[in-house]
């Protein structure tokens, strides 16, 4: 697959292109981080972050590539890893208390959301993911979901979102959710 073909696929939200890229560039990116004092686990995590950041940009159609995808990914990895190293060195000098409570709170919220999403059903979950994370166009969402057209996708998304808001608001007080 050429870079252009990969990009075209990603723009349509074809996740097999993501798999392909992941596999193709894995060694190069992960080895770069390992060579720079990272563990395999850390390297994998950074690489996934980088790849998903790329996926989001590319799927939304907001990215115009002027270099090879691998070059681009490589530089994202380097930057993310540099930041991570910074963060680690700062952390070792500071107290870590604040961060722990933070992630607990996040976990709670994630659980809550996943419960609601599961209640809404697979279709709604996918639409909301594609719209809010992958940032696909309504046309692409319709295509991927097998809807008649973008209008159908838009209506469905609207209904799903409304239902989700309602579920979350009624089950849990807004205040809980906010902080």
């Amino acid at each position: 697959m050429t870079d252009q073909e990969i990009l075209d696929r990603i723009k349509k939200g074809d996740e097999s292109a993501l798999d392909f890229l992941y596999k193709k560039n894995y060694r190069m990116m992960v080895n770069m981080i390992i060579k720079n004092n990272g563990s395999e686990e850390e390297a994998k995590d950074i690489y996934q972050e980088a790849l998903l950041a790329f996926w989001q940009k590319a799927a939304s159609g907001k990215l115009e590539m002027t270099s090879k995808i691998s070059t681009f990914l490589y530089s994202i990895c380097q930057n993310l890893w540099r930041k991570e190293l910074d963060r680690k060195s700062r952390l070792s000098n500071e107290e870590k208390d604040g961060i722990v409570t933070d992630s607990q709170d996040l976990e709670e919220r994630a659980k809550l959301l996943n419960m609601c999403l599961n209640d809404l059903g697979e279709t709604c979950k996918k639409i909301l993911f594609y719209f809010y994370y992958d940032d696909l166009s309504m046309d692409d969402i319709a295509y991927k979901m097998g809807f008649a057209n973008a209008d159908t996708a838009k209506t469905k998304k609207y209904k799903c979102k409304k239902e989700l808001d309602k579920l979350i608001k009624t089950r849990f007080s807004t205040q809980d959710f906010l902080d």
Partner: protein, 297 residues
Amino acid sequence: MFSTEDYNEKIDAYLKGNLSPDEAKVFESKLHSDPALKSEFLFQQSLLADIQASRKSELKARLNNINIPAEKPAYWKYAVLAGIATTIFVAINYLPDNILKNDKAEIKTATSDKLENLGKGVAFDKSEAEEIEEEDKADLQAKPTEAPEEAKSNPTESKKVVSNPEKDSGKEVLPNLPDVHTPESYGNDHVGKDVETPDHNLTKTKQINTTVAGVEVVKSKKHKFHYQYFDNKLFLYGDFDTKTYDILELNNSKGQKLYLKFESNYYELQPDRTEISKLEIVKNRETLKELEEIQKK
């Protein structure tokens, strides 16, 4: 004054970064003067962040399920990586720290400017570059193995690789670097998911490894004899529900490719067809012979 529906549309657009700077300003000032809007906004902001986090962990789980083959040595590839490494090394110095928030413009300058310079120092030798690409194609099993740093010990070769067989100018060196092909990049685009047993319709199917996660038959008025790949699946458009068909996989020097056998004819399934395409009959005699061979086995 907004209605609730308008609120939500605006909030979505704002949070997704789809408002123009002017619209965003108007929205922000409304936010300050309208407490109801503000509280809804804060609710939506954290909800969207949670939705995104949830999707992200879903995708990460997907990636974690992908099996990465073990490393294999492939020395000549160091050269390729050295080329990339050097270029990136130069380019990186020009990228501001927070690349993710940067717009394409900055990346463009960083890469193309520096690449241009780099290109100037590169020796061009068409035949050699092509040769290496050929070698690349032949070595389907090879993976990028080592971090680029190691490769610096081999500077001569790296120059050959970075040369550009198609254009005369030294610009855009990187886009023409030979791809380091994984087996999947040949013959099929799909990362090797384990085979789900294809449809019950596939009668005499030979092993379909690493190719498609499934076959789906679609009835369509417009497309009567077509196919396409999407999301790891092969979609066949037409009357395939009532008649039998076979999907055959052929591995030869050109790579791995799928063929459809239908009513004693063979049709090509080009792996890069992500648009709905007409099924085209195989005419190449050698291919036909090979396909007959597999059937006999």
